[in-house]
């Protein structure tokens, strides 16, 4: 896994970023689901087919942006939002690592008490 090009500012912002919290919302999860499979989307596109207002969607996108999960990019006069898998991958990797440690510790506990 490469993390090249993660600048100081992005890194610092991410240091505060509550990625779990950002994902702990149905609307935001559905936005992430939409963005993660396709190309960058405009707010209008993301609002289409949703019962929520443009303002509500914008607010949710801002939460995702702060967590580093989506980035806004300019395409002419339009602002598009694109998905960045890195924060979510980092969490998963971390949890996998802690999980692996527990597997090892529990295996040692097993041989310790069964001997």
């Amino acid at each position: 896994m490469s993390h090249k090009g993660r600048s100081g500012i992005a890194g610092k912002r991410r240091a505060q970023a509550p990625v779990f919290a950002a994902l702990g919302d149905e609307t935001r999860l559905s936005l992430v689901a939409k963005l993660s499979v396709g190309r960058p989307c405009s707010i209008s596109r993301l609002t289409g087919g949703s019962k929520l207002t443009r303002q509500a969607i914008t607010k949710h996108l801002r939460v995702l942006e702060r967590a580093g999960i989506v980035h806004a990019v300019r395409a002419g006069r339009e602002r598009l939002f694109e998905f960045d898998p890195q924060p979510i991958e980092a969490i998963q990797t971390y949890l996998d690592l802690v999980s692996e440690q527990w597997d090892q510790a529990l295996a040692r506990l097993k041989s310790f008490v069964e001997d």
Binding site: M1, V19, G24, L109, V113
Partner: protein
């Protein structure tokens, strides 16, 4: 997305034996690989150097939470706090719970570690970076160590 780790393992040993292995600080230290300074007391800090090969410079520290004999043992800690330069004390710790259940063959251990949503994501990333490559090697060391001392 989950903020917890859940494990279960069945041990061919009576609950009382497993309870002792979990809550006697010397026995805990044996299998967990840490040299603790004294008995576990709820509400108090337990501390000592890790005895994992390669991690001897790391001080393990936890706050013992609950000790309900032969049923529940829990502590809070900062998982993966292996970098001496980072002050982990400002971070919200995760909660580790061991629940024991008697089974026909011995004891079922249910392990839960929860509260990962409170850990700064940058550190999660760094924990990975630091161990990228090195971790697999470390695991092999641990395995061979266990094989030597079953």
């Amino acid at each position: 997305m989950t903020d917890r780790i859940e494990k279960h393992i069945e041990l061919a040993a009576p609950v009382s034996r497993v309870w002792r292995a979990l809550t006697d600080y010397r026995e805990f230290g044996e299998w967990f690989r840490v040299k603790l300074d004294g008995p576990f007391v709820p509400g108090q800090v337990s501390r000592g150097p890790i005895t994992h090969p390669g991690y001897e410079h790391v001080i393990w520290e936890a706050v013992i939470q609950r000790m309900e004999p032969e049923r529940l043992f829990s502590f809070t800690w900062h998982p993966y706090s292996v970098d001496a330069k980072t002050d982990y004390s400002k971070e919200t710790p995760t909660l580790v719970e061991f629940k024991l259940e008697k089974t026909a063959g011995g004891t079922l251990v249910l392990l839960t570690e929860s509260g990962f949503d409170k850990i700064p994501s940058e550190r999660r990333l760094e924990a990975f970076r630091r161990n990228d490559g090195g971790w697999t090697e470390q695991m092999k060391n641990i395995e061979s160590h266990v094989a030597q001392r079953p």
